[in-house]
């Protein structure tokens, strides 16, 4: 069972790797934030799986903290950092 949890955790980590491509190619800042957002949720799932696999209940608190604070980055982005449209001059990859 623990092997399954770890295998799924690896699978989710590979998902994060795939999602990184979206951060790299953009094109808009919103797209990049969206990918970062997905990584937050994926990280939570990985931490929960590891908590079960490694039998460390304290890890669930970490998942809780990640979930609670993940929205801060989005709010800062929307209020202060979002120059939102894709930039034509920006390098593609």
């Amino acid at each position: 069972m623990d092997t399954l949890y770890l295998a799924i955790a690896i699978f989710l980590l590979l998902n994060v790797l795939g999602g990184l491509i979206r951060i790299l190619i953009g094109p808009s800042r919103g797209d990049r934030m969206l990918a970062a957002q997905l990584f937050g949720t994926t990280g939570v799932a990985i931490i929960l799986l590891l908590a079960e696999a490694l039998d460390q209940p304290a890890l669930r608190d970490i998942a809780l903290v990640v979930v609670l604070l993940a929205v801060i980055n989005t709010v800062v982005f929307v209020r202060f950092a979002g120059r939102p449209t894709a930039q034509p001059g920006e390098p593609g990859s």
């Binding site: 979206r22 969206l34 949720t41």
Partner: protein, 101 residues
Amino acid sequence: MSALGILTAVLIIVGAAFYLAGTIGLLRFPDLHSRIHALTKADNLGLGFIVLGLLLQADSVSVALKLLLVWLLALAAAATSGYLIANHALESTSRERPDDV
């Protein structure tokens, strides 16, 4: 492996599949808004199924409650973030801004 174990395994694998769908959606969909659409559905359901699977293995009520809380908060946070980013993108494209290149 017990029946409960098999059910957990199935639920977790389904959850992982939703994550895969979300990532593919993130990479393949043509514009920001459809990506948000794909993403919020996929990661909420993905985390939901994984939490459901782990719930069956929870050995105490407090662990189960914590897992549920994580999922509910993730649901709310993802929905709000998706809304904020979509709204932000919408406003900035509909309004001509002299400072945008």
